[in-house]
Amino acid sequence: MDFFALALIIALPFVAGLAAALLPSDSRTPVTWLAGLTAATCLALTFSFYPAVSSGHVVRYQIDWIPQLGLGFTLRMDGFAWVFASLVSAMALLVVIYTRYYISREDPVRRFYLLFLGFMGSMLGIVLSGNLILLVVFWELTSLFSFLLIGYWHHKQAARDGARMALTITSVGGLSLLAGILVIGHIVGSYDLDAVLASGNAIREHHLYVPALLLFLLGVLTKSAQFPFHFWLPNAMAAPTPVSAFLHSATLVKGGVFLMARLWPVLAGTPEWFTILGLAGMASFVLGAYLAMFQQDLKGLLAYSTISHLGLITLLLSLGSPLAAVAAIFHMLNHATFKASLFMAAGIIDHEAGTRDLRQLSGLFRYMPITGTLATVASAAMAGVPLLNGFLSKEMFFAEAVETHANSWVDTIAPYAAVLGSTLAVTYSIRLIHSIFLGAPPPESFPREPHEPPFWMRFPVMCLVVTCLVVGIIPGLTIGPFLRIAVTSVLGEATPAYSLAIWHGFTIAFGMSVIALVCGTMLYLVAGNYLEHTDSPPVFGRIQGQRLFERTMVAISWRWARSIEEVLGTRRLQPQVRLLVAVAIAAGAIPILSAGLDFGPVGNGIDIAFTGLWCIGMVCAVAAAYLAKFHRLAALALLGGAGLVTCVTFVWLSAPDLAATQLAVEIVTTVLILLGLRWLPKRWRTAEEPIGVSDRLRRLRDLSLAVMAGSGMTVVSLAVLTRTSPDSIADFFIENAYTEGGGRNVVNVILVDFRGFDTLGEITVLGIVALTVFALLRRFRPAPDTIERPEQQRIQQSYDEAEPDRKAGATATEYLYVPSVIMQWMFPVVIVLAAYLFLRGHDAPGGGFVAGVALAAGFILQYMAAGTVWVEDRLRILPVVWMGVGLLLAALTGVASILLGDPFLTSYFQYADVPVLGKIPLASATVFDLGVFSLVVGATVLMLIAIAHQSIRRLRAARLEEARQLEEKQQWS
């Protein structure tokens, strides 16, 4: 049961996300409840593991995924994962409550929750993965959801740019991480986390350690927005604030440091680890804090501060000492609480005051005292003021920075960097509070009159701030046990003794804290005014990773792509086809030339009638190809001739099934092409242009290509047909069709029973194709020379207009009087025919497919007879419903057999006694076939109607022009 709960924690958010997407669009409250309950359930499930985890037990749940490749769907919860899973679920719960009041009525709230819950599920997946490849999969998912959430307001340019930048950088990192994981897996021989954690020495001593480390670090540093990849995070602030609070302070960016800590026992402790991570962490810590001071956007300040704090964690992890790792894990939790609360407070300010610009905001305390107090406490925690949680972990950080871990210059400057960074952190924290809440309100009023937010919007902030306080005052009683299980599960036996007390006496660390606080305050007093009015930070403002990134993107995705396209691409159809045919010839010729081609004995005797039939077919085909260039209609008619010959051939060779299907398909195809012809440009046989030598050569080459392809195909077919076929599965089908499948029509039994799964896949593809065609045609833009009505229609129109008592379209109707009556009378006949074909399908030629096509032909006949408008006034065909019902029916038939304990799509077969009709055979495959029938009807009709609608759809410009002409005419008359 426990194991299922583990899988449920991950599965639940995804399921709930889909459910949220399916709710009606105006259901704000139900969606919020759904999301909140999901987060609460995940939290409760996680807590239910506490007894097991706190005793040092590791809960595992494993399903084989691709065992041959060492891939398992392994979930694993130890103390560290437990703490993080609780963090993610609890944060999600608070953010959901907050979002309820943040997201406005106009925003598509379902999409938000779909993405939000999807992200939550993937984040929990990262935390709980017990297999490194699985972890990378979830890692990529978080990047993807982060991209979609940043771009949630996709009508804003900034959101789109920020989303794209975040995706590009984190997914490059993700790829690199995958490569790193593959190398590690290669070294260890397994991707299982336990196996990897057990082989730390083997990894560190392996000659592939450095490449693996570099790839791995590229992945985690990009995710955690560490220097020099930090610039995506400030740009991601275009996201809605709940997203920033959840993703960009508490969870997503913690993914990088989480994984670093996870693999810390395996990878850490080498000089390479220390140097790279130490430098990156230190640079992010100091530079982030420095840049944060100068930000004028509230969220921008918080983003740079996040970079800085993550740099602190990275720096701690780089040191390689167990105590530093403890501090790192502790700070991860502390940072999540105070930073998320600050983001939420920023959202409240933005929401209530209408701006996030620090230069405009001032004196807000008198409008919102409670929010102001909460924000002040949270920023004090961020600055590392005593009695708050930030102080404790910072204290540990200072103590570790002073210690010497490796004898290098990086280690020597670490304490100075630590004090410098913390000083700057104090400065920007003071600036945050001072410029927003204190001082006089600005002379010009805010965009909106600010006031306190609703209680429940403040509630999550309150929870987090209370946590900051409680943890800061009585750490041992609150966070202590949780931190201990997290630390023990990461460090194992190397867990050091550490103390969470507030007061350690006058240590160097305390001195450094005091220095930072005092210097930071003084710096603000001195430079506060300057910070308030500067536009870009001096010195480091010039380092613009963003510019570099954009230039690279332009070069890769625009300039290089263009030049490659110019060199390799062509927009002309002929060279493409030529290339395709040439490759096909080569692909056929190489194996034949290398292995030879055996012919079987050619049967004697020529059936004159059959040969004659084929001669007709061949003449039709060749003539169609010849005429295709100048007379498309004639070519189409000839194509129909060739199709009919094929049809008769099937009958001749005793395949009535194929013949019937071919006939129905032929009809529908012809109609389809006919409808499409109208949109092709008219072609005239122009005077023969003078032909030069090069033209002749080109034609000769094309001709020889065509002849080679054709004759090659003929030879290969002949060879295949004359050989005796090996024993194939066909015999099995023929023998067992009746006994096993309950049908005498072997083809149909194969389709709906023996190979039912294939058919299910095929009809799914058919459905997708139909929808794609529909979607493409909706956006169809005809070529300029076919926008105008075709000549025939214009003539008809001029007839109608010439006579005052005729309505538009009367000529066409008149021409079709008699045919349309017959066509309408034929409709029931076609329906009966389709039903007949369907019902006899299992035992005699027929079946769902041909019946579906026949019914579709019946529908399209009605369209032809009376016109689109007339038919749709009277007969509502809902092709998409037909398709959906068909797919569902087919799939449910398959599922029904699972419920009865048999494999998917097992069919049942029985005789039933029906009064009046007598004994009739019943097979569950018939229901499946009904699904096929319904889908085929839907798909075919959808495509045909989509094309048919083009003729009544007029381009806007053409419509306006027509209306104008009509108006003019009326004025004159």
């Binding site: 003539i795 010439a802 045919p819 017959i822 009378w825 034929m826």
Partner: protein, 138 residues
């Protein structure tokens, strides 16, 4: 055709006769399509095949299978019915399309539409090629 030997002589003779008649008529129609010059003449020729050509062959089939089996086989009647219902419509459509094209090309041999529509009140029609638009069909 292994069953042909079991056929009574009268039935065999009747079947052959009907088949020959049907096939002959259809062939005649096909020759007509080749021989006639204008479209409006040609459109009449295939009707030989679709009327009695089909009819005779269907009858032959009825006779053949009825006398082979023990009961009357009349499936072929359906073929006849459907051919009778659909072919005229097809030909009618073809003829009207041809008429439309001729008019569009302003061929002098075809009655123009505007002339036909004016009855009585307008100057007399140039020629009396047809009273209504529906005549060119079979």
């Amino acid at each position: 055709m292994s069953h042909a030997a079991e056929l009574p002589v009268w039935a065999a003779l009747l079947t052959s006769l009907l088949l020959l008649v049907g096939a002959g008529l259809t062939l005649l129609g096909a020759v007509g399509v080749l021989q006639f010059r204008s479209f409006f003449e040609r459109v009449h020729a295939p009707t030989l095949g679709t009327s009695w050509g089909t009819g005779a062959i269907a009858l032959a089939s009825i006779v053949f299978f009825s006398s082979l089996g023990t009961r009357l086989v009349v499936h072929e009647v359906l073929i006849g019915v459907f051919i009778t219902v659909t072919t005229p419509v097809t030909l009618m459509l073809l003829a009207r399309a041809a008429l439309h094209r001729e008019r569009a090309e302003e061929n002098p041999n075809v009655p123009s539409r505007a002339v036909m529509r004016r009855r009585g009140s307008a100057p007399a029609p140039e020629d009396g090629a047809g009273d209504a638009a529906g005549t060119p069909s079979s």
